[in-house]
Every structure is written in C-alpha cells, then in structure tokens.
C-alpha cells in the first residue's frame, strides 16, 4: 500500500452496486448449501446438541449477512474499485493452473515451480521469459535438493527430479 501524497477526489459511487448484489447472492447460496448438507445429518446423541446445530446457526447467520450485504449494495456502501489489470490476473492464475496440472500429471516439482515463477514474473511486467525460466529452474532445483536431502521432506518427483 502506498500512501498518496495528496488526498484524491472521491470517485463517484454507483447508485446500486452490482458486485455487492452478487456477493449477497453468493452468501445466500452458501447458506442454502449448508442447510441442505445439514439436513442429512442425524442427531444420534443423548445429551446436548448434534452435529447439525452449528451448521444451522452458521447458515442462519449467513442469511442475515446476505441481507445485510444486500442492503449495503443497494445503498452503494461498498468502496469504489480502481481499475484492475486483467492480463496480470490471468497470467498468475494461468501459472497456478499450469503448476497444478504439471504436479497432477507427474511432471515434478521443479518444472511446476519454474512455470509458476516465470508466469508470475511476467504478470509483474518482466519481458525476459527465458531468463526467468532459467532462474525458476535453478531455484527449483536448489529448493528440491534442500528439502529432499537436508530436511528429508518429499516433494513430487517427475522426470527432472530423477536426474538428481
């Protein structure tokens, strides 16, 4: 967070905050899921309350908060959002997805982390993809060796790890 030198002029707030409406709807949906899930739990206890008590309480709380958020949204009480760079977000999320895919398919730790490092660096504006990839591979190898040899914690091994 960088604190601005001068106070910026307050941006105009929309009358009804559509994103806020979505948030309220999501909360309501989660509450419904909780109620449905809790309904199939059986109480089978002699004293006290059963496992469905807490879910019901939380579900009720969520419904109240969904209404609360709805009111906030209708009043436009949510803070105004500045523009977000979609490319950066897509790069990071894409990198995460690739990393998960590589691990899931047995590609190994080093390759997965190298991909993640490269895409994240690119998301922050670096253009030198090859250099970053090399850095990622080297760093990944060092971390793998440190974890595997020194800390004896196992990391997923793929084709690259079997070279060591």
């Amino acid at each position: 967070m960088t604190l601005p030198e001068t106070t910026p002029t307050a941006p105009v707030r929309p009358a009804i905050d559509k994103a806020g409406l979505v948030i309220a709807a999501l909360l309501a949906i989660v509450a419904i899921i909780i109620f449905v899930d809790a309904s199939r739990l059986s109480a089978n206890n002699v004293y006290g309350v059963g496992p469905q008590a807490m879910p019901i309480v939380i579900g009720v709380g969520l419904v109240i908060l969904a209404v609360g958020n709805l009111i906030s949204a209708l009043r436009g009480n949510l803070p105004p959002r500045e523009s977000a760079d979609p490319r950066a977000i897509v790069l990071i999320l894409g990198g995460l997805a690739l990393m998960i895919a590589i691990i899931g398919l047995g590609g190994g730790f080093i390759l997965a982390e190298a991909v993640l490092f490269t895409t994240t660096s690119a998301a922050f504006g670096r253009r030198a993809i090859v250099v970053d990839a090399i850095i990622g591979l080297v760093a990944g190898t060092l971390i793998y060796l440190a974890f595997d040899r020194i800390l004896t914690l196992s990391l997923p091994a793929g084709p690259l790890e079997h070279l060591f």
Partner: protein, 499 residues
C-alpha cells in the same frame, strides 16, 4: 517469587545453543519478511509450519515468536524509506517516517523506531511475564461455557467492533466459520460439507487458507494494480544517530506507545493497526511541536513503533494463557502449537513449563538480537528492497505453493489454494477484512466443541451458558460489542441530519 524462578528456569532453556540459533533464524526471517512488502509474519509462520513439523517444538515455537517480533521491527524500515509499509501495523510509522526520510532525517527515524521497538518490546514482555501466571490462575477455573463465551467475545470484537464495516467483518468471520465446518465432526464421526471428496474429510488446512489468502491473494492484488503505484526508495542519508533533542522527544512517546499497545494487543481487536493509529493521534495531540506533524515529527515515529511492538507481546498473553489468538499471526502460532499436539492454556503451563517459560525468556533474547539487527545492519535490509518486484512476487508464490506441495501434493488441495487466492484478491478489492476468516477457521471448531461439551454436561440445558458469572458477563460484552457499531452508526446519521 515464583515467577522469577520460572523465568530463570526458562532462561536456562532459552540460552541453549540450539534455541539461540532458532531465535536468531526467527528474528532474521522476521525482519526480512517485515521489510519486504507482500509477505508478513502471519504468512511466514504459515509457510514454515509444514517445514518444521519434524523439528523440536520448543525451538520452532521460539523461531515463530522471533518471526512475529521481527516482523514488527522490519515493517518500519520499508515504511520509512519507501512509504510502503511492509506490515499494515507500520502504516502510522510511514506517515511521519517517510517525511523525515525525505528531509534527510531517515537515519534518526530508523534509530528511534528500532530503539523504541526494543524498549517497548522489553517492557511489554515483562508485562507478559508477570501477567501470565495471574491469568493462568484465573483461567484454570474456566469451564467450557466460559471458554465458549470468551470465544464469542473474540469473534465479535475481531470482526465487527473495530473495522470500517461490521457487516463485511462479520461476513469474513462467517466465511471462516463455514470453512471450519468442512470435514468429519469429531463428536459423532459424520462428514459435513465434504461432498464426497476424500481430501475434504480432514477439513480445510489452516496453512492452505492462510497461504492462499495472504500470499496468492496479495500477489494478485498487487499485480492487478501495478499501473497505479510508483515507489521511490529514499536513500539513508546522514548518520544513524539521534541528537539529544531526538532522544528527549522520543522517550515519552516510547512509553506511551507501550502503554497503548500492550493492553490493546491483548484484546481481540484484530491486529496492531488500532494501537498504532491511537498512538499517532495521541502524540499529535500531546506534542510540543505540532507544526512538524505532517512534515516529519519524530514523535510520530517513536510512539507508533513502540505501540506495534508492545501489541505483539500483548497478543501473546491471551494466546499462551487462554489459547485465544487475537490476530492472524497469533492464529498461525496457535496452529503451530496444535501441530505438535500442544494446546496453549493453563494446562500447558502446568505440564510443559520449560516450553512456555523457555519461549517467554527467549523473547527477551530475541528483542536484543533485533536491536542489533535493525540498527547497525539496516543497510542489509535496504539492499534487500532492491530486489525487482517481479522476482520478489515470483519467489513469494514459489515459497507459498512449496509448503502445500510438500505437505499434501493433491490436485484438490492445490486447487483450494488457488481458490483461496482468488477469494483473497476479491476480499481485498471489496474491502472485506482478511484476519477474521483465519480466526473463524481456527476458533470455530474449538468454540463448537466447547459449546457441545457444555451442553452435554448440563444434559441439554441451554441456561448453563449464562449460569456462571464469567460466561454471563462475557456473553453480555459480546452482545454489546456486536450491537454497538450499528447503534453508533445509527446515531451518527441522526447527528448529521441535525446539522
């Protein structure tokens, strides 16, 4: 006195070479992550949990505490030099500190913040030392209904009372509570919210949530708004030494900051931002040099820095004596205790005094180490800030995912990590506080089990929750804390209309 004997015993544990090494690593890491924006003590402890579970518990906990204290020291360096607080608790420091740096007085700003942090940390840790046994005596008499009521107070104050928007704070808390529901119910063995996915039967891992929310969420947020901010690093010009006048102007803010930080840190108020801003306002009102505020007044650095270090020690009071975390970092440390099968509270003081008092004693040592690390070695930290941002965040994400991959390399777990990252990004964008989610996840299941235990003992009678005076008072406080923000906001509206 009993406490002195216990502390001396703890010192004997703390000065063992292995534990000294852990303390050194902890304070070093803590200062580093405090300095670096985008990564903080809570996230660091979360990242280290999977790595340390095979290591000695006493040493690891000493390291985590060192990271906590270190984070408070390190955050001020970035706050003063780049106007970008490395820690949200250092925001107040940035207000005057950066102005001092721009005026060529960065050295004294860093000095007053480091020395003030040391003074505050030492006094506050002494407070912890003497307060803890007293509180433990009191807490030993707590029954499950008292613990439940205490947690309700914590839930409410962390999420609703002190934030911008109680509705958003409570929403965050309830999201955490929902995540706490996932998994097998311990008392009856039935699965809740698992949807047939085997990985979910163990519940949501705290580390997965914390790392997703803090690291990935922060990376997404900063990357998305990169085109808005421009940071300029102020060089540390001139000497690091404070003039006699600087000392004269600093020592009272140090003490006032400590007095503000320690009790507020012990309360479940959601973090160290409140005492630091309170200290800033207090110093602004009490200063003999009001014209300097806004242009670089040293009191505005001395007070808040003392406050945030004192509040870190204050947070440890309820954590160690009651097992109640009052900030995200404390919640991570609680997860650290749980990972070794330890439960902080009166029982731990009785069963493992060497561990608890060793931890407290090593805090004094860590404090001393931090003074040395932060004053003469400040140049080292400044160089750390020269790492280009893309590599910094690339590295952060690699370390973030590394822990989860080592502990549970399943696609489901990693998918959850990414999903929490997206959630963290959305929460930052829409101004939903993040700490309540973590606290909801960790404390929710504990609160539930205390509630069910209380009701089982009372054979289903709900009045047991208000029968003990402690629990009745605490529940009353929780209710007041819950309603107060809404009522005050309603009153504010009436006031505005009258004008």
């Amino acid at each position: 006195m009993d406490t002195f004997a216990a502390l001396a015993h703890g010192m004997a544990v703390a000065i063992q070479p292995m534990n000294l090494l852990f303390a050194l690593v902890g304070v070093f890491l803590g200062t580093a992550v405090g300095v670096l924006p985008g990564i903080g003590p809570a996230l660091t402890v979360a990242l280290l949990l999977p790595v340390t579970y095979k290591l000695d518990p006493a040493g690891s906990l000493i390291m985590f505490a060192g990271i906590y204290y270190g984070g408070m020291y390190g955050g001020s360096t970035t706050a003063i030099l780049i106007n970008t607080p490395g820690e949200s608790a250092s925001m107040a420091t940035a207000l005057e500190g950066n102005k001092m740096a721009k005026a060529g007085r960065g050295g004294p700003a860093l000095a007053t913040s480091a020395i003030g942090s040391f003074v505050a940390g030492t006094i506050a840790t002494l407070g912890l030392t003497f307060l803890a046994p007293w509180l433990v005596d009191f807490a030993v008499r707590f029954g499950p209904e008292d613990y439940f009521a205490l947690m309700c107070v914590a839930f409410v104050t962390v999420s609703a009372t002190f934030g911008d928007s109680p509705v958003r704070g409570l929403t965050s808390l309830f999201v955490g509570l929902v995540l706490g529901l996932v998994g097998i119910d311990k008392l009856t063995g039935q699965a809740r919210l698992a949807f047939g996915v085997p990985e979910l039967l163990d519940g949501v891992e705290v580390t997965t949530l914390a790392v997703g929310l803090f690291a990935i969420g922060e990376a997404l947020y900063v990357a998305a708004r990169r085109h808005h901010t421009e940071e300029k690093l102020e060089a540390v010009r001139g000497s690091l030494w404070m003039t006699r006048q600087d000392w004269k102007r600093s020592w009272k803010p140090w003490l006032r900051g400590t007095l503000l930080g320690f009790p507020i840190g012990a309360l479940p108020a959601g973090g160290a931002e409140i005492p630091t801003f309170l200290s800033y306002s207090a110093e602004k009102r009490l200063t003999n040099y009001p014209e300097e505020f806004g242009k670089g007044a040293i009191e505005g650095v001395a007070g808040p820095e003392a406050a945030n270090n004192a509040s870190a020690a204050g947070t440890l009071v309820p954590l160690l004596t009651l097992g109640l975390p009052t900030s995200a970092t404390a919640a991570m440390m609680l997860a650290g205790f749980q990972q070794y099968g330890l439960n902080p509270g009166p029982l731990l003081f009785a069963e493992r005094p060497d561990l608890v008092w060793g931890l407290i004693a090593s805090l004094f040592i860590a404090n001393g180490m931090l003074l040395v690390l932060n004053l003469p070695l400040v140049g080292l930290w400044v160089r750390l800030l020269a790492i280009p941002q893309p590599w910094l965040y690339g590295g952060i994400l690699v370390f973030a995912t590394m822990g989860t991959i080592a502990a549970k390399p399943s696609v489901v777990e990693l998918g959850m990590l990414a999903a929490f990252g997206v959630m963290g990004f959305m929460m930052r964008r829409f101004d939903f506080p993040i700490a309540p989610v973590v606290i909801g996840l960790i404390l929710g299941p504990i609160a539930e089990s205390q509630l069910r235990r209380a009701l089982a003992i009372s054979l289903g009678d709900p009045l047991v929750l208000v029968q003990s005076p402690t629990s009745a008072i605490l529940l009353g406080i929780a209710l007041i804390a819950l309603i107060a923000p809404f009522v005050l906001k309603g009153l504010n509206r009436f006031k505005a209309d009258e004008d």
